[in-house]
């Protein structure tokens, strides 16, 4: 039902762009996505299991990169002679 609702939502917004074959393919994509979502939702997570990606606050020193090498400067790890 959720997958079908997702498909119908997409069709209500963009449906005129697609022929019947394309609509069928998008519907398949929505159902395929649903299978992945259900496996993810079934995975046991505790409330404290935080997401993998964290914000890096833009602290003052990073707003002023002049003390750091500019992009294009020699790489920090220039290769040595063989």
């Amino acid at each position: 039902m959720e997958a079908e609702a997702r498909f119908q939502q997409l069709m209500s917004q963009y449906g005129t762009r697609f022929d019947a074959g394309e609509q069928k393919s998008i519907r398949n994509s929505c159902y395929s996505l649903q299978r992945s979502l259900e496996k993810l939702r079934a995975f046991q997570l505790e409330n404290g299991d935080a997401p993998a990606v964290y914000l890096k606050p833009l602290v003052e020193r990073e707003k002023k990169p002049q003390s750091a090498p500019a992009a294009g400067a020699a790489p920090a790890a220039a290769p040595k002679k063989p």
């Binding site: 997702r6 939502q9 997409l10 963009y14 762009r17 697609f18 394309e22 393919s25 998008i26 994509s29 929505c30 395929s32 996505l33 299978r35 992945s36 979502l37 496996k39 993810l40 939702r41 079934a42 995975f43 997570l45 299991d49 935080a50 997401p51 993998a52 990606v53 890096k56 833009l58 990073e62 990169p65 750091a68 090498p69 500019a70 992009a71 294009g72 400067a73 020699a74 790489p75 920090a76 790890a77 220039a78 290769p79 040595k80 002679k81 063989p82």
Partner: protein, 469 residues
């Protein structure tokens, strides 16, 4: 005129000749240009050759070296960059018609790094449109058309770093730069019989590279040996204040000296015997032979398995959600219909429907997986397995049917930002290359590179090259 065999030499071998002034960077660049002009169109390997700029850079390198200003092993070495890396004033198409006329007014950081060590940019390598992020079912899903595999031109190179693989395999340049979100360095490396290295996420700046998936994209070298990959990685790794996804200075930097080992100890290998459900017989045979080589050269080789969980689903949902953002405008505007591949024209719409809640759940699953993988690397320095269970596929293959097998290690490796290398380990009975991959702990790029080098000290597969004549 340079011998063809010299054009297949490693960066290390070419560098020795250049440093000792036995080989002129101009002569080398002219030879690669001539070969690229001859074979590049046949293979659809390049998006664009840059002969004028390349010869200017080669002349500058030669002048520097004659003055005694040798900058290291990449000085005067011609290379190609995947056409999703910005090069100032040069069309950067991302392999896709909607961006065919795009020109940036700055160089990607990777291009700058290579310029600073004196490498010569020969041209932009062909690629799958938008690195395949909106989906594709055909090898021809590229502005440049299908890239042909130098080992068998009726076969594909894999994607999305298609041209980079073909260029290195065909001896059209000294090395190439590719990118990987999920498989785009390792797969073309395996199909083309070259060495391709995917660094730890955050070690190489992505400034000036097309963003497909902000938390999955990586940039890495494709070359003729693991040692070449090591040298190139040393040149392009490092923190970039203009790319906040790069690691801190001390964690991003990488130094290499051939005189000293990358790791101080012999490596422990976790062998993933059952990674793939089915192997093509030729691949199985090559991988079994590679497996037999390992115990003589590594401290430990022991069968292991990956943790179980919905890792491919998490990787897929994160990729879809991030693509819905990176190319959301293209999809919503309808301009996505200009893409070449029918699946690419419609594949992005379902991405728009991934909810924030589901995306965050996938990111939480990702964190669990990172811890599980880190624990696995307590027992092993690297994991090893066939890069793919099949060799290069025919150009005409419907990829939704022919290359649609589960890829748990690809999902895990990219989801966790783990370094990996694919090295050639044999050939099928039809003379198509087979790849062996080593995957390491996040940040332990040295172990992965050492594993590749160790394998290549014991084998000669990386020295084979196709007969293009």
């Amino acid at each position: 005129m340079l011998k063809e065999s010299m054009l297949y030499e490693s960066v290390g071998e070419l560098a020795k000749r250049i440093e000792s002034k036995q080989l002129s960077p101009v002569e080398l660049t002219e030879a690669y240009l001539e070969r690229s002009q001859k074979f590049g169109p046949r293979l659809n390997a390049y998006a664009r050759l840059m002969p004028v700029e390349a010869l200017d850079q080669a002349r500058a390198a030669e002048k520097d070296i004659h003055r005694g200003h040798y900058r290291g092993p990449l000085h005067g070495i011609p290379y190609a960059a995947k056409d999703l890396l910005a090069v100032k004033g040069v069309q950067t198409t991302w392999g896709a018609k909607p961006f065919a006329e795009q020109v940036f007014d700055y160089n990607a950081t990777v291009i700058e790094h290579l310029k600073n060590v004196g490498a010569v940019l020969l041209g932009k390598a062909a690629m799958i449109e938008l690195a395949g992020g909106l989906g594709y079912n055909s090898a021809s899903a590229s502005l440049q058309g299908e890239t042909r595999n130098p080992w068998d031109t009726s076969c594909w190179t894999c994607g999305s770093s298609s041209g980079s693989g073909a260029i290195v395999a065909a001896g059209l340049a000294g090395f190439a730069i590719g990118t990987e979100t999920w498989g785009s360095i390792l797969c073309p490396s395996a199909f083309c019989g070259v060495s391709g290295f995917r660094p730890t996420y955050g070690r190489v700046s992505r400034r000036g590279a097309m963003a497909l998936s902000y938390s999955l994209d990586k940039i890495g070298p494709m070359a003729r040996s693991a040692e070449d990959c090591t040298r190139i990685f040393a040149a392009i790794a490092g923190h970039d204040p203009l790319d906040r996804s790069t690691l801190a200075v001390d964690r991003a930097a990488f130094t290499y000296s051939p005189a000293s080992d990358l790791k101080k100890h012999s490596l422990r290998v976790g062998w993933l015997a059952n990674l793939w459900k089915e192997y093509e017989p030729g691949v199985a045979k090559a991988i079994q032979a590679a497996h037999k080589v390992l115990p003589k050269h590594f401290a430990l080789v022991k069968d292991t398995v990956l943790p179980e969980g919905p890792w491919e689903d998490a990787a897929g949902v994160i990729l879809q959600a991030e693509v819905a953002s990176s190319f959301g405008d293209l999809i919503r505007s309808g301009r996505v219909k200009e893409l070449r591949d029918p699946q690419g024209r419609i594949g992005g719409y379902a991405n728009l429907s991934v909810s924030g809640g589901d995306f965050t759940t996938a990111q939480r699953v990702r964190e669990i997986l990172q811890k599980k993988m880190d624990a696995l690397f307590e027992s092993y320095d690297v994991l090893a397995a066939a890069t793919l269970p099949a060799p290069a596929t025919p150009l005409t293959l419907d990829l939704s049917k022919g290359l649609s097998f589960p890829d748990p290690l690809g999902a895990i490796g990219n989801l966790c930002g783990l370094p990996a290398i694919s090295v050639p380990c044999g050939f099928t009975e039809k003379n198509l290359p087979v790849g062996l991959q080593f995957v390491g702990r996040a940040g332990d790029d040295a172990a992965v590179l050492q594993a590749g080098q160790t394998f290549q000290h014991a084998t000669e597969w990386h020295r084979k090259h196709p007969n293009l004549s």
